[in-house]
């Protein structure tokens, strides 16, 4: 099976700091492999173990995203494709998905394409569906597990808000994946890290992928960011550390006042 996983490097927003004006400080934030994508990579590796084949990873990002792709190689992926060019600067999700789909066509045919359901910075969830659309492939979002692959049919578990669906899709297809919270992310082993540096790492520039250049980068992006600002902050209220009865009584008083309870 030839599997491709689309990955993204994102700022580590689990330990975000704010300045005095409540604005998120972006400098000095560590860059990490998007956790949803890491899950997709690990699922892909599990599929490779079960059914054989090759797992490639691909990103469209500035050069510094190399460490994210290296991590995927260290986890066990076989090949990395890094699409990087100034021409892609300012891309929104449509421009990114378009360029990715061109790069994928350039690289070759895949039986299965996987991606994290969303990235923790943008949270749009667009890339998976849009790449699938551009490639003319069926796709499923919110995939928590690839249950089985039988010939050219894959059975996946897709989460709904109030349950899940078991969806059977004819390959080639794209799955946008979301891990269960109990998922334990792997750390690359020492031997994995050593092996990573000898695995193929292929760079693509804008000229290397055949397509409509006017649809790359900022010019190819229908959406524009007008401005960014800190969210309205809910401030920390009153935290009681003493007697439970006192605390509860005080809270109930407020709830009565605000007519939440009558």
């Amino acid at each position: 099976m030839k599997i491709l996983v689309l990955v993204k490097q994102v700022p580590d927003t689990s330990e975000v700091k704010f300045n005095e004006n409540g604005v998120m400080i972006r400098e000095g934030l560590q860059s990490i492999l998007n956790v949803f994508d890491q899950f997709a990579v690990e699922e892909a590796l599990r599929i490779r173990e079960k059914y054989g084949g090759e797992v490639s990873v691909m990103t469209l990002a500035p050069e510094q995203a190399k460490s994210a792709l290296q991590k995927c190689l260290a986890l066990g992926a076989d090949k990395a494709y890094h699409i990087s060019d100034r021409a892609f600067g300012g891309s929104d999700t449509l421009a990114t998905s378009y360029a990715l789909s061109l790069a994928i066509k350039k690289v070759g045919e895949f039986d299965l394409i996987m991606a994290g359901n969303q990235a923790t910075d943008g949270d749009t969830g667009h890339i998976g569906p849009q790449v699938a659309q551009f490639l003319g492939l069926p796709h499923v979002s919110y995939v928590e597990k690839v249950e089985s692959i039988d010939g050219d049919k894959a059975l996946v578990k897709s989460l709904m808000e109030d349950g899940y669906r078991m969806v059977e899709v004819k390959l080639p297809a794209l799955f946008a994946c979301i891990p269960p919270t109990t998922f334990e992310y792997s750390n690359p082993s020492m031997s994995g890290i050593i092996k990573a540096k000898n695995k193929p790492y292929i760079w693509f520039k804008a000229d290397d992928i055949d397509g409509d250049k006017s649809r790359f980068g900022l010019n190819g992006s229908p959406t524009r960011v007008l401005k960014m600002y800190p969210p309205p902050k809910r401030s920390r209220g009153e935290i009681f550390t003493g007697d439970y009865h006192e605390a509860v009584k005080k809270i109930i008083d407020v709830l009565k006042e605000k007519k939440v309870i009558s």
């Binding site: 190399k66 460490s67 290296q70 991590k71 260290a74 750390n187 690359p188 082993s189 020492m190 031997s191 890290i193 050593i194 990573a196 540096k197």
Partner: protein
């Protein structure tokens, strides 16, 4: 050309170890003070990642890592485990695994090292005796060749990992007198399996590193096969210093790391704790002490990596034995002192709470205090450096 950056690979190694240590070690570290052992799943996790004796060549299940890379792993483990248990578990096996790999027989290495790197057996070092620490030549344990085997008699004391090797399997690199009349040229190094008939372990209740045992053992006519001899007969005194030096280099990094981590905890505390209407962090006296300790420990850290780098250069024939001995002794000379001083300061900031066992820093202080003598006392470090500077003829004793 001076380059103070690590390689891409080393950065990846650091990130992976740090992430593992944060998830698996940090949450259970203080528990080891009570359970007195490293949890099995942590040992297994370390083995799976390839962190146990990574200095051993890949042929025997290691990673073939150099000293600087070994130092990176030590640094991250030390950050996550304030009790020092896992750093000791790591540094002993990394240092002496390297020596065993370099000087051991093929047969012994095939037999023992894969079990060590898999986390099944423990590999330790046992040179210290009740009456001989710094004075290695004061060793009273003897080893005698008898036909095809060797017989060992004596005792060792204040040894790390006695319980680990005795119960799980494995043994200790040991040094004993084979030809007493030859002095330094009469000592032989060998591997001593702790489950051998004739070994009786005892345990010591020491102040720290609770997750790994400290103890001793009597050696009563223990027989070992000849393939357990490490290096040539009579060369033990010289080979053992290579192991001590590796360990000292890793210890220096561990001290710097634990001290800096303690300062990190302290910094947070200074910002949160208020007195006289303002956070402690606003009091200049405390700011200055933070800055001083941070500076010393940061230099200690850099110096440790420089010493480990020098150690690697000997292997590349770019540094002499003496340059390595000196560099390593310089790195370890102040390591425990500077680090325990910083940690003591952080305890002081926390006042009465710093004096309770709930305070993490007191565990770190007890752990790092041991490094003022472990694998070579701070006094011996001064002997080494002055000897390298002035010349052997000025050493006041043989």
């Amino acid at each position: 050309m001076l380059d103070f950056t690590f390689s891409e690979e080393q950065d990846m190694i650091r990130e992976s170890v740090r992430d593992f240590a944060q998830k698996k070690i940090a949450p259970i570290a203080m528990e080891m003070e009570k359970t007195k052992q490293i949890p099995e799943d942590v040992i297994q996790g370390m083995a799976d990642l390839g962190l146990i004796a990574p200095t051993v060549s890949t042929k025997y299940g290691g990673q073939g890592f150099d000293a600087v890379t070994a130092g990176i792993i030590a640094e991250e483990l030390s950050r996550a485990d304030p009790t020092g248990s896992i750093p000791v578990f790591y540094l002993v096996q990394a240092s002496w695994g390297h020596v065993f790999d370099k000087y051991g027989t093929e047969e012994a290495k095939q037999e023992i090292l894969p079990n060590v790197t898999k986390g099944k057996w423990f590999l330790g070092i046992a040179t210290t005796e009740s009456d001989a620490g710094s004075d290695v030549l004061g060793t009273r344990t003897t080893i005698k060749k008898e036909g095809d085997k060797y017989v060992v008699n004596g005792e060792k004391m204040y040894i790390s990992g006695v319980r680990e090797a005795y119960t799980r399997g494995g043994g200790h690199i040991t040094i004993a007198k084979q030809f007493p009349e030859l002095g330094a040229k009469g000592m032989t190094m060998f591997y001593l399996p702790l489950q051998s008939k004739g070994i009786i372990p005892t345990y010591v209740d020491d102040l720290g590193r609770e997750g790994i045992s400290t103890g001793g053992f009597t050696i009563d006519n223990v027989t070992i096969p000849k393939h357990y001899i490490v290096g040539q007969e009579g060369k033990g005194f010289y080979i053992v210093h290579e192991g001590y030096e590796y360990a000292r280099g890793l210890i220096a990094v561990i001290c710097a790391s634990a001290g800096l981590k303690s300062l990190e905890r302290g910094e947070k505390y200074l910002k949160e704790r208020k007195a006289f209407g303002m956070p402690l962090a606003k009091f200049e006296a405390l700011q200055f002490r933070l800055a001083e300790h941070y500076t010393k420990l940061s230099f200690l850290r850099l110096g440790s990596y420089w010493a480990l780098w020098t150690y690697d250069r000997e292997g590349q024939k770019k540094a002499t034995r003496f340059e390595v001995s000196k560099a390593i002794a310089m790195a370890k000379m102040f390591a425990s002192e500077w680090s325990t001083q910083a940690i003591d300061e952080v305890m002081q900031w926390q006042g009465a709470f710093g004096y309770t066992r709930e305070c993490v820093d007191q565990a770190a202080w007890r752990a790092i205090r041991s490094f003022s003598w472990a694998e070579g006392s701070k006094e011996i470090m001064r002997v080494i450096v002055s000897r390298e500077l002035l010349g052997k003829e000025y050493t006041s004793y043989k």
